[in-house]
Symmetry: C2
Subunit: 228 residues, 2 copies
DNA sequence: CCCAAACTGACAGGTTATGTCAGTTGTGTT
DNA sequence: AACACAACTGACATAACCTGTCAGTTTGGG
């Protein structure tokens, strides 16, 4: 089974998002270039989206992993429930992802045979599309990449304000999403309800992890509040 | 790659939970017994928990599937969020499954490399362990296997009652779980809040899908209610 | 004890994978 | 426009691997 392992190894190497030439791969895997080209065919046939450009090299745009997982039926059930909730309770981008993921998993004959498509879950976590939800993908990206955002926020009292925030975490409260952030207008931590964010723009400005302004600091502060 | 396909096929066949002899497998896959024995070695080496007993046959206890999935990072994010919610919002059995599933996925080196362990999600779907939650696994099983249950229910008004129900679906409402069922006491559809089910027992009695008493009928009835 | 069926080892023959070589075709750079 | 680079392709010999056959051994159950 050296071949199968090598195929996995190629994906491992290429998924770092950088360019790799067939020769480099061939050297590090101790096979000939030709073998690499053949392997690339096989991978492409298996649906791995590796792109090869002549004169350039190979690139794996979409991060991919292919672990041959062994899931118990309870884990499969948890996956199914989780995706049902995400499909209902998250923003369109994650909804889409949840559905394609579930599709990939249920598409495998082994599962179709056992589950009559339904696990008996009903999920009604949300009313129809909440207003601020279109901004969720941007907010999530901002959290991950430490990107400052400029938002227009309408408070529960109805006051409109414009702020620069450092989004630290997105929070799910069962039926409501909020974003925990450091607010540069108030110079303090604030939690913004996603459905009350009417405008949201990328500032193209990154923020550093500053002592006292991290999500851990925020959570700690909240914990202390509850102690009293 | 006929070998790789055959290995997958073996798992496919054996995962029905019944006994299979090497000879039967060999016949249906059109190879010799010897090849099956060699394949079993390979599968065992790959970590598939197939058990073989001399004089008996092969058995796969834990249902398993091993689809070499290719997930996008967004799908991975959806999976992570979904499991975070399930870990917070579901019963202990599914919580456990969600954690082991996430463990299996994140355990794969390819992912560890990219995600700094956290996706920036905070999930606070529930207070601490709700009372009725211990019954959830039984209820889920009952839904899937059409098993009647005998429950002790405390209504919102505080009235205690004992009923035989035919559980049709478990419903997640963001912060609350209910069970949609046909209630044999009231002879009508009822939705029971899980946290108000104080007792729950298996009656060992199955129910048939009766016209007018299915989950589809219930959902239709609810839809009509909203029309008015 | 006997049977069934999992297991093991050896070897020949077939199939597949690989390396070598000799090209062609795009892409980016000078 | 010429050039370098690297993806690609085809052909063929050889090495590696897989498979079937056969002849056993081991283990659990009746």
């Amino acid at each position: 089974m050296r071949r199968a392992e090598r195929l996995a190894e190629i994906v491992e190497i290429v998924r770092d998002g950088r360019l790799h030439t067939a020769r480099d791969l061939a050297e590090s895997l101790e096979v000939s270039d030709r073998t690499i080209y053949r392997d690339m065919d096989t991978l492409a046939a298996s649906g791995v989206p590796i792109e090869g450009e002549r004169g350039v090299g190979y690139l794996l745009r979409e991060p991919v992993f292919l672990p041959p997982l062994a899931l118990s039926s309870t884990e499969l059930e948890a996956l199914s429930l989780g995706m049902a909730i995400v499909r209902e309770a998250a923003d369109p981008e994650l909804q889409e992802a949840a559905m394609t993921l579930l599709g990939k998993v249920e598409g495998h004959a082994s599962i179709r045979r056992r589950s009559p498509k339904s696990w008996g879950f009903g999920v009604y976590a949300f009313e129809q599309a909440k207003p601020g939800f279109v901004h969720m993908p941007l907010i999530r990206r901002a959290v991950q990449e430490r990107l400052k955002l400029r938002i227009t926020y309408v408070s529960l009292a109805g006051d409109k304000s414009e702020r620069i925030i450092r989004p630290l975490q997105t929070d799910y409260w069962g039926r409501v999403w909020t974003c925990s952030a450091w607010c540069e207008l108030r110079n303090a931590f604030r939690a913004f309800r996603i459905d009350r964010i009417s405008g949201c723009f990328d500032t193209n400005e990154h923020f550093d992890v500053e002592h006292g302004k991290t999500i851990e600091d925020y959570l700690e502060k909240i914990a202390k509040t509850f102690e009293n």
